[in-house]
Symmetry: C2
Subunit: 480 residues, 2 copies
């Protein structure tokens, strides 16, 4: 079939903000950067709908938006044409004028933040830890103490790498909790793991040239950071042993991976795969970004060594975060960087925001040094373990006919695959109704590449005793 547009138009599936918005954005980007020149007639909605597998109403709605914004000129009784934006300078549409000044990279659909879902307070949502058992009193006490210390010190600009006492405390923490070998000098404090991804993407990617392997399905905000830095993403399949290392193309310069607890399938990267990945990196002179976002919570099995621990050549950047072990709004994460990359990484951090806020760093350093983090993780591990057990039981019991848990020994969520992929639409619909927050792993997939259907369930903010009733309700719906 002849292409309907003079460029590749791939819509993300599923489209988090709807297909209309996705289509509208891609067409607008094409008009803004000149791929669709002024005067070009738009193809008929019927043709576009057929070619892209969309409902015609979706295409009509996207066209209507473009007309409303002035990007497209409607013609009575004829096809609409792309408007002449140059002629519209000085017109009263600062919106359209302004957008032409932006780096068009930011109109990529993958870079549009998802509209946050409205969920009940207790739900199966992923990636959010329990607030009810957080040691708020301790946190408050350490805060007050840090502020008293703070009030006696002159103001100034703290080091970009982070406060020395926090870097020291993090080095000790990851050595004990994850056997990551490092000293304070190797640690760079970041504003959450997301900033770590952004800093690494900017440091490691030569825009337009560097190919970066990402897990598929995988964590979309990490992909966004690499895309925004100009990387060419190469999605690589994930199975029950994690990233399919033997499917890595030779020319990727960076491999990003979640070895402890794959996001979102929850599987661990097996030891043979870990060895194979490091051998691949050695053979092809590749760097590795190891995202260990919730590996502190382990529920059995011997923990596998971190890639950083196995690495002898300074190829692994280990990214950690306190978003799951403490709370996301704290915005504190870190990178353990190979020695050779420390100075340039600090230069990137210095350039992007100078440093992370100092008082929170002081509080966090004390929290770690006094053992409160270790204590909290120990306590929460037991809580999450009970929820996880209830979840596994409910999957095997009421939903055993439809779902099969994927192997997972860590973290704050686990996934279950559909025993029969054809059941996916019905099971997903039942989950939307009765297990709010549960998410199809498809939501984490790279546009156009669909993984096997599976559902991920978080147990950060659901009570153990609420799980079986929710699954019983799903079962009743599915048996109907």
């Amino acid at each position: 079939m002849e292409p309907v547009f003079p460029f590749a138009l791939v819509l993300p599936r599923p489209a988090p903000d709807g297909l209309t918005r996705a289509l509208h954005q891609q067409l607008r980007a094409a008009i803004l950067d000149g791929r669709l020149g002024a005067g070009t007639p738009l193809p008929a909605t019927r043709r576009v709908a057929a070619a892209l597998g969309l409902g015609r109403n979706t295409v009509v709605a996207a066209y209507d938006l473009l007309v409303a914004e002035g990007y497209v000129q409607p013609r009575t009784g004829a096809t609409a044409v792309v408007a002449d934006l140059a002629h519209r300078r000085g017109s009263r549409s600062p919106h359209a004028r302004g957008e032409r000044r932006l780096d068009p990279a930011w109109s990529m659909p993958e870079l549009q933040p998802e509209t946050p879902r409205i969920l009940p307070e207790r739900s199966f949502r992923l990636g959010v830890p329990e607030h009810r058992l957080f040691p708020h009193d301790t946190w408050r006490r350490l805060n007050a103490r840090a502020l008293r210390r703070w009030s006696r010190a002159p103001f100034g600009y703290p080091p970009s790498e982070g406060l020395p006492e926090l870097r020291e405390a993090i080095a000790r923490h990851v050595a004990l909790a994850r056997a990551v070998a490092c000293s304070a000098g190797d640690v760079l404090v970041t504003s959450g793991a997301q900033q770590a991804f952004d800093l690494l993407a900017r440091l490691l990617v030569v825009p337009g040239r560097t190919r970066v392997a990402v897990e598929n399905p995988g964590y979309p905000p990490l992909r966004a950071a690499f895309l925004a830095a100009g990387a060419q993403l190469v999605p690589v399949r994930v199975d029950d042993e994690g990233l399919c290392v033997d499917e890595l193309p030779d020319d990727v310069r960076v491999v990003s991976v979640t070895p402890s607890h794959q996001s979102p399938t929850g599987v661990a990267l097996s030891l043979p795969r870990r060895r194979a990945l490091l051998a691949f990196a050695r053979r092809h002179d590749t760097l590795v970004v190891e995202d260990d976002y919730d590996g502190e919570f382990r529920f059995g099995g011997r923990p596998l060594d971190a890639l950083q621990t196995l690495d002898r050549e300074g190829r692994v950047f280990y990214v950690g975060t306190f978003s799951k072990s403490l709370f996301p709004a704290l915005r504190k994460g870190f990178v353990v960087a190979p020695e050779w990359a420390r100075a340039p990484l600090a230069a990137v951090k210095h350039c992007v925001d100078s440093h992370s806020d100092a008082i929170t760093q002081m509080v966090l350093a004390d929290f770690l040094r006094e053992g409160h983090l270790a204590r909290h993780v120990r306590r929460m591990r037991a809580v999450y373990d009970a929820r996880r057990a209830a979840l596994l039981e409910a999957i095997a019991g009421p939903l055993g006919h439809w779902l099969e848990p994927m192997p997972s020994e860590a973290g704050l969520h686990l996934a279950a695959r559909l025993r029969d992929p054809r059941d996916a639409p019905r099971v997903f619909a039942a989950a939307r109704r009765d297990a709010p927050g549960a998410q199809p792993t498809l939501d984490y997939a790279v546009a156009g590449v669909e993984p096997e259907p599976a559902l991920a369930f978080g147990y950060g903010v659901i009570d153990a005793e609420a799980i079986a009733p929710a699954f019983a309700r799903m079962r009743r719906v599915l048996l109907r």
Copy 2:
């Protein structure tokens, strides 16, 4: 004269980390990105020294560093040659290997953070406010209250744009303090002004294409953010009325400017220049980044309208910060963005670090809403005013023979130009000894373009009564 290298080599003058390091870095970058290929003989140190106006020892030291790092192969009795880095793969130098994987943009000398200067607690340093009079008790009380509120709320990911109550409070604050017309929806909370520069640079710059006008002299970290985003910088002269608007080349797409209090000369952009800048922007469809970093502190004269206030076309991004009115380590700043740019700007923020830490945002919102910021600024204005008066008196008195103050009515520092530029080396040397923290505006200049010699003095952390004695000591040295 024939060029000594096959590419333009411009060293920053003055070089903050020394000329050896600057030369070393530029040569290393050229070797890494292939401009100096393997086997190329390095030109003789004597020739390089003559061509670049350096001492021969400086060149020898830079070459020695390259040899030590393995980038250059020494040859007995002959010129050294660039090493074959490809052959060194698998050798035991992960350092050199790794660096070849980085985006070479980060080896630009402008992107290397300055080594922080060691200064006494009380000094003339620029850009740091007084800590002794900060309302630490109030801050602590609001902190405790915010943490109690926090302990009752579920965890989650706060909005990328900032907490609604803080955006509301900032909108009211800038409306009152700076007559900036905006609503909460126009405000994006950032991790300090530096992050605002980074977000805007990434949003507005198409890498390798967008030309951005910057003040010369001007704030180096802002230049770093635009350079790192791939901008082509166009330095534009500054005189006693601020940025020389009529020297802006027609093809700049973004103009960055400090209208309230030029950094570092302290002058204000005159009203005719403000009008001319907005007319320029209209004529050439240009966007403006207005950096108002310490404009809250005004000491007389009628405040000039912010560019944002005068702008009728949605061309101005107004950047504010609490680093000078409160303290730098707070890491809180903001952008007031034109309506059309709000969503894409939030997308950039979402991509780079998801959001700024929430508890500090809560505290800051309360601090603003309850009037503590306005009160603190009022109080500090009187304190800084007294220091500024003492400074002006000391410049006119003991140093009147050498220095002439440049017009300045706001902020935490002012500058004084040399009456006779030939005195610059002696006066700078005297200041280094007796007025620690004072900085030649040359330190803020774009490499290779020297502004008229002047010295900037901060009065954020110097006592009024310490100023005259320091200047008297300088005078004695200068009269010797």
